[in-house]
């Protein structure tokens, strides 16, 4: 029987919320990839996006505001055999969790990170999120936003993420494909997902986005993939093209895969160089006790350097 990746819980997002399209894209991607439901884990933070794991019929942790990335990293690094997806809001990922967002770029642990980008904090009644443009005033703001807009794509690229993409929650076909590529990607990926907040963001509506988004892949010459065989020059050019596209915003907004570098080794492989058998028998799977129930570690042998003979 085909596993149903959707739970039967009542979804309590507002009618017209972009989150619905994201959950559908995730469940379709998991189904099409034919993944073992026990081999995938979803981790989230706080906010509307944080509820996602409860709606997915896989193991899920709905953690702390801003901390989904470190919790997810702990899951991944202790059991690198698991596929780990992370769902978080723009505030969750790029404001309170920005330090972890940047650090994970350097690690490249192998997480699929989805940023639910609607420019507002919905669950706390519509405050400005870090992706809102300077001077914009959505309906629940008392005054126009006096913060600059943070660029998630450019930040992810600078942080070192080996895959960076953007989706639109009302284009589930494209989003699903991006998610599939990201889950199969060995390193960590960031997918910035544009979505309306029908309750609090009356500016960046579904219509607003539909008039502006275009797909990078529609240009047949667009090739964001860096392979280990590519020269430093080629890979540099691809990074530069991604960065140029990242800066595009306004009348035209690119979606699709901006950059995918398959040459950067994931953190798990870097750890494997130091920790014996790390990938074969993961920390989660290791035996810690003997048949008699005592430690498997021989203290005299392991700590021989501490003995004064």
């Amino acid at each position: 029987m085909v596993h149903n990746f959707k739970t039967d819980l009542t979804v309590d997002w507002c009618p017209g919320c972009g989150d619905f399209g994201i959950v559908t894209s995730i469940t379709q991607a998991l189904t099409e990839l034919n993944l073992d439901p026990r081999g995938v884990v979803a981790v989230s933070g706080i906010g509307c996006s944080g509820k996602t794991p409860h709606y997915l019929n896989i193991a899920g942790a709905h953690t702390l505001h801003g901390r989904s990335i470190p919790y997810a990293t702990g899951v991944k690094l202790s059991n690198p055999k698991l596929k780990v997806i992370v769902t978080g809001g723009d505030g969750d990922m790029l404001s309170i969790g920005a330090g972890h967002f940047v650090a994970e770029g350097r690690r490249n642990s192998g997480l699929t990170i989805m940023v639910y980008d609607n420019e507002v904090y919905g669950l706390t009644k519509g405050q400005a999120a870090p992706t809102m443009s300077l001077g914009e005033q959505t309906k629940s703001l008392t005054r126009a936003n006096i913060f600059g807009k943070l660029n998630p794509i450019a930040l992810a690229l600078s942080a070192g993420y080996s895959m960076v993409a953007r989706g639109f929650s009302f284009d589930m076909k494209q989003l699903k494909e991006i998610i599939k590529t990201a889950i199969n990607h060995e390193g960590s990926s960031v997918i910035d997902i544009l979505q309306p907040c029908p309750t609090y963001n009356n500016i960046n509506t579904m219509e607003w986005y539909k008039q502006r988004v275009y797909k990078l892949e529609d240009d047949k010459s667009w090739n964001p993939v860096v392979t280990p065989e590519d020269s430093a020059e080629t890979s540099g050019k691809k990074f530069a093209s991604a960065m140029t596209k990242a800066l595009e915003w306004g009348d035209r907004i690119p979606t699709g895969i901006f950059y995918q570098n398959k040459a950067i080794p994931p953190f798990t492989k870097r750890l494997a160089k130091n920790v014996p058998n790390y990938l074969e028998v993961t920390p989660a799977e290791q035996r810690v006790s003997t048949s008699e129930g005592y430690t498997v570690v021989d203290p005299k042998e392991t700590f021989a350097d501490k003995i004064i003979m």
């Binding site: 026990r38 884990v41 981790v43 509820k51 409860h54 019929n57 896989i58 193991a59 899920g60 942790a61 709905h62 953690t63 702390l64 901390r67 990335i69 470190p70 919790y71 997810a72 990293t73 702990g74 899951v75 991944k76 690094l77 202790s78 059991n79 055999k81 698991l82 330090g99 972890h100 650090a103 750890l271 130091n274 920790v275 014996p276 058998n277 790390y278 028998v281 920390p283 989660a284 799977e285 290791q286 035996r287 810690v288 006790s289 003997t290 129930g293 005592y294 430690t295 498997v296 570690v297 021989d298 203290p299 005299k300 042998e301 392991t302 700590f303 501490k306 003995i307 004064i308 003979m309």
Partner: protein, 634 residues
């Protein structure tokens, strides 16, 4: 047989090889068959400021340090200036005779307020503001000056090079020569310390020989120190002990963010990532190691370790006050989500950055209350290096058994204590394997159907279940149902009652000494050793003493503590903090107010002599409410 009890302080600039020097001294005494106990004191500084090691050498295992010193070994002028108070009758002061003219005002690395204090003392004593003046003051206190031409001795021993680079070896050599330790033992320790560097070994051995010759010529040597049969022992710090315990306890994932004095533990684990298995259990499949991850901050450290715990990995993190403060929210999450996680909390002097490299026991009340909301946790502490080993295994066991955050307290003094441990027993504490099974569809992660509050554990990778920081149902989904909320709260706290009933009393509190005594000391952490030594001295004077040594603060052994304290004649609380935090916990749980207290919060280690003096003061007064604050320490 002569009683051997030698106290040594060797000091010099941070980065000047003090550690190497004290290591040489400890090893040479060890090779002669003796036991050495030591504590390292240092500034929050990389190079230049005053650091020192305080050691005690005995035949039996020392448990404490004491003043006055038998040897003060100064590798620079600052050491002379800083340690005036440590000198008493018979203290040999070994120093470089070329620094005698050094003026206090030139000792720029001494903290201004410390320098002002030293100046006042010298003025008061009518001495010059120089090393010579300070030595003169030390002589008045009974000190014996041993000025040595450091540079000449080194230059005679080796050609070329910077002589001061060998001063640490020279300091060690002079101390050992005067103590009567055979030169062969120091040579052996030099070979160990500089292992692969043959040229360095040769040069240092020449310096050692020159130093021994110098002492011989000048008749500084005392009788030869009696050699005792040597046995193999572990030379371990508290940091080592905790790392070893975790490794033996099945730790497979450790996270940390750099902080003094906690990060040494993670470095030690990393150095031993490649585990050596007990032979009979060895097979290719089981060959394993520990993943140690340096995180971007302490929030990430606790979150990552918690994430690893969810996959069934025994995991932990180690930190100190500032980092622990950052972990508060995630500890609360581990509480409601019943995550088996160990946080080793190395206490240093707070608040805020406080005294970042100095001792403190001021985080006990915080550890008991970290994180918002009410949730069960286990909070316990270690008092010596050996306890650090087995307590760290137990910490991982408690976390797994009761599925909650375990906070293991170790004070900085203990973290930086070095001690000789005769043996590590791999069968003293059991290490249960985490069950990693696929449960039947009826299984619920937070099942309320238990007699213990402990639901059957499941892991990501095997079972499908949910976790949330919200109150949740048995499956782990969010709930705000008023009745379910009550049941979940009760279930979680039930685990603490079960923990209290299952964990043996000996892991919670220990009574040392007779049931009935004239004086009952109460303490926790690294004062255990010094107080046991103080008790021996007082007993020789006819005072009956006992010690109520507290280890576990949550769950707290109220009945036991109450039973002892309610019939005690005189109770004296001893702690390294200002508020008497453990005494407050005792009062909270038993209603008994301990009004006689010996406290120290200047960040320096407590010594046998000052606890003894304070105890005598308290015993000698009819005052029922008295607080003696200890002030000693450079």
């Amino acid at each position: 047989m002569k009683t051997v009890d030698i106290s040594i302080t060797i000091g010099g600039p941070q980065g000047g090889g003090i550690d190497t020097s004290s290591n040489m001294i400890s090893r040479a005494f060890a090779y002669s068959g003796y036991n050495v106990f030591g504590v390292r004191e240092y500034h929050s500084n990389i190079k230049g400021r005053h650091s020192y090691t305080h050691l005690r050498v005995k035949k039996e295992r020392p448990r404490s340090l004491k003043y006055p010193l038998d040897f003060l070994v100064a590798l620079d002028p600052d050491t002379i200036f800083e340690h005036i108070e440590d000198v008493g009758k018979g203290t040999r002061i070994i120093y470089d005779n070329s620094i005698e003219k050094s003026d206090l005002s030139q000792a720029r690395m001494i903290m201004k307020d410390t320098s002002d204090r030293i100046r006042q003392e010298l003025v008061h004593s009518g001495e010059q503001m120089t090393v010579a003046g300070t030595i003169s003051l030390m002589k008045k206190k009974g000190g014996i000056a041993i000025p040595v031409p450091f540079s000449d001795i080194v230059q005679k021993a080796i050609s070329g090079g910077v002589p001061s680079r060998y001063y640490n070896t020279l300091g060690a050599a002079l101390t050992l020569a005067i103590s009567g330790v055979d030169v062969k033992f120091l040579e052996e320790s030099i070979r160990f310390v500089f292992s692969s560097k043959e040229k360095v070994v040769e040069e240092n051995v020449s310096v050692v020989k020159a130093a021994y010759d110098y002492c011989q010529e000048n008749k500084f040597r005392t009788d030869n120190l009696e050699e005792i049969k040597r046995t193999p022992r572990f030379l371990l710090t508290g940091n080592d002990g905790a790392a070893i315990g975790k490794i033996m306890g099945g730790l497979r994932f450790q996270t940390y963010y750099p902080i003094t004095p906690a990060s040494d533990e993670s470095t030690i684990i990393e150095e031993h990532e490649d585990l050596k298995w007990i032979e009979s259990e060895n097979s290719k499949l089981s060959k394993s190691g520990i993943a140690v991850v340096q995180t971007e901050d302490e929030i990430s450290a606790i979150a990552m370790a918690s994430g690893a715990a969810i996959t069934g990995t025994r995991s932990s993190t180690a930190t100190s006050g500032p980092g622990f403060s950052l972990m508060a929210e995630a500890i609360s999450f581990a509480g409601i989500d019943e995550i088996p996680i160990v946080i080793t909390l190395y206490q240093r002097g707070g608040p805020s950055t406080g005294l970042p490299t100095r001792n403190g026991q001021s985080d006990l009340l915080f550890a008991l209350n970290t994180g918002h909301g009410e949730f069960p946790r286990i909070v316990f502490s270690s008092g010596d290096v050996e306890e650090c080993i087995y307590d760290s295994i137990n910490a991982l066991n408690y976390a797994q058994r009761y599925q909650l955050p375990v906070i293991h307290l170790i004070d900085k003094n203990l973290a930086n204590t070095s001690d000789f441990i005769p043996e590590i027993d791999s069968k003293r504490v059991k290490v249960p394997q985490v069950a990693r099974i696929v449960h039947s569809p009826e299984w619920k992660r937070y099942s309320l159907n238990t007699n213990t509050g402990i639901s059957e554990f499941g892991v990501f990778g095997k079972d499908i279940f949910w976790m949330t920081g919200d109150e949740h149902d048995e499956l782990g989904h969010v709930t705000e149902d008023s009745e379910l909320r009550d049941r979940m709260m009760v279930k979680r706290f039930h685990k603490l009652e079960v923990a209290d009933s299952e964990i043996p009393l000996s892991e919670k509190a220990i009574l040392y000494g007779p049931q009935n005594a004239d004086v009952t000391f109460v303490t926790w952490g690294s004062q255990k050793g010094p107080i046991l030594d103080v008790m021996e001295i007082l007993e020789k004077e006819g005072k009956k003493c006992n010690l109520l040594y507290l280890k576990m603060f949550q769950p707290f052994p109220s009945e036991f503590v109450s039973g002892i304290l309610s019939k005690a004649q005189m109770v004296i609380d001893v702690e390294s903090n200002m508020l008497g935090q453990a005494a407050n916990v005792v009062k909270l749980n038993t209603g008994i107010d301990i009004t006689r207290r010996i406290l120290k919060y200047n960040g320096r280690h407590m010594t046998e002599d000052e606890i003894l003096d304070a105890a005598r003061t308290i015993m000698g007064t009819s005052q029922k409410k008295i607080e003696v604050v200890l002030k000693h320490g450079a």
